[in-house]
Symmetry: C2
């Protein structure tokens, strides 16, 4: 067969991407199959490789999409947030990971070969979530501490991430640790307070 012209190249790429993301959400990284993705939208495996070139590139695109959905969810949560926006952030972070286990985990399961690098475009799309958090941290810190805000924000992301990993993989449950999200929030508050933060929501 030849040009089918049902879809432009862009549309086709989007089809693969959306269906790939759905497949990832359903079966997870370990059971993900490029063949299955192609089959699902009625194209052959060859076409998928023509569009993405590499399995890695498809996985990168899928994970970037997860980042974008994640950022949207966090943004939406912040818009309907009460005064304690830091709690809102942590809850939205955890909430997305818990509600989208497979997609969220796939972000960290996929390790790029040393010779493959994320394109600037992918990095920019993924950076949106981080920027949201940096902005909130900046908003909460006193002016004297704002120079270190980006660095602190990234550190707090790591703090929450670590708690999130142990929550999802069952380590906390195994050790009898309850309410891991509250635990993460305690750490975040301590660090923000130590940096001089003062917010309505902070006790």
């Amino acid at each position: 067969m030849g040009r089918r012209s049902d879809h432009t190249r862009q549309e086709l790429e989007h089809l693969f991407l959306v269906e790939g993301h759905k497949h990832m959400a359903e079966v997870g990284f370990a059971r993900f199959s490029a063949r299955e993705v192609a089959k699902r939208i009625g194209y052959s495996i060859g076409t998928l490789y023509n569009v993405f070139g590499t399995l890695d590139q498809l996985l990168i695109a899928i994970n970037t999409r997860t980042f974008q959905l994640w950022a949207e969810e966090v943004r939406a949560a912040l818009e309907s947030s009460g005064p304690d926006r830091i709690r809102c952030l942590v809850e939205a972070y955890f909430g997305f990971a818990r509600a989208n286990r497979h997609s969220w985990t796939a972000i960290y399961d996929h390790h790029l070969p040393p010779d493959v690098v994320l394109s600037d475009e992918q990095n920019q799309r993924r950076g949106g979530l981080t920027q949201i958090i940096v902005d909130e941290v900046v908003a909460v810190l006193p002016s004297r501490a704002q120079a270190d805000a980006p660095r602190l924000a990234r550190s707090l992301i790591a703090v929450v991430h670590g708690h999130c990993v142990y929550d999802l993989n069952g380590s906390f449950a195994l050790m009898g640790i309850e309410q891991p999200m509250e635990l993460a929030l305690e750490r975040v508050r301590e660090s923000l307070n130590h940096a001089g933060a003062s917010v309505d929501g902070l006790k």
Copy 2:
């Protein structure tokens, strides 16, 4: 062929385990191959399955071994530690992950199917590292705070873990964050101080 009697079943299991661990350290989780492990020690793939039953069980054993080596290294570091044992802990944690990227990452890359559970023995072996950290946190907290020490210790492990992940996967470097280990240590100190800790090494 039949009983070769070169090795007892225990020795054979240990051979597979050690060689599997070595293979994992060399190629990482994504490129790990059970066939390759068997070939390396001169046994067939069938024998490996006779011994471990499942690829998951082999991976569990390999990762448990990583936990044990990790704990040993941390223990050794603590024995030759100066007064700042908390810093020593964080440095040893990071140090092992950095020096054993593939083995360390494999711990978190391997997701058990929902129907498979870690045996009590495996959990006990893996828990050694956590216990070391809990002990050090207990030693540093005032008596009034010791009830919460185990919970806080697990939380601090998550804090360091999160920083370690972002260090190894390049996220910190990408964002221009330098000295991620020091960053993690700052967070740990803040939380310990907030809990009333007082140590020689603490500034």
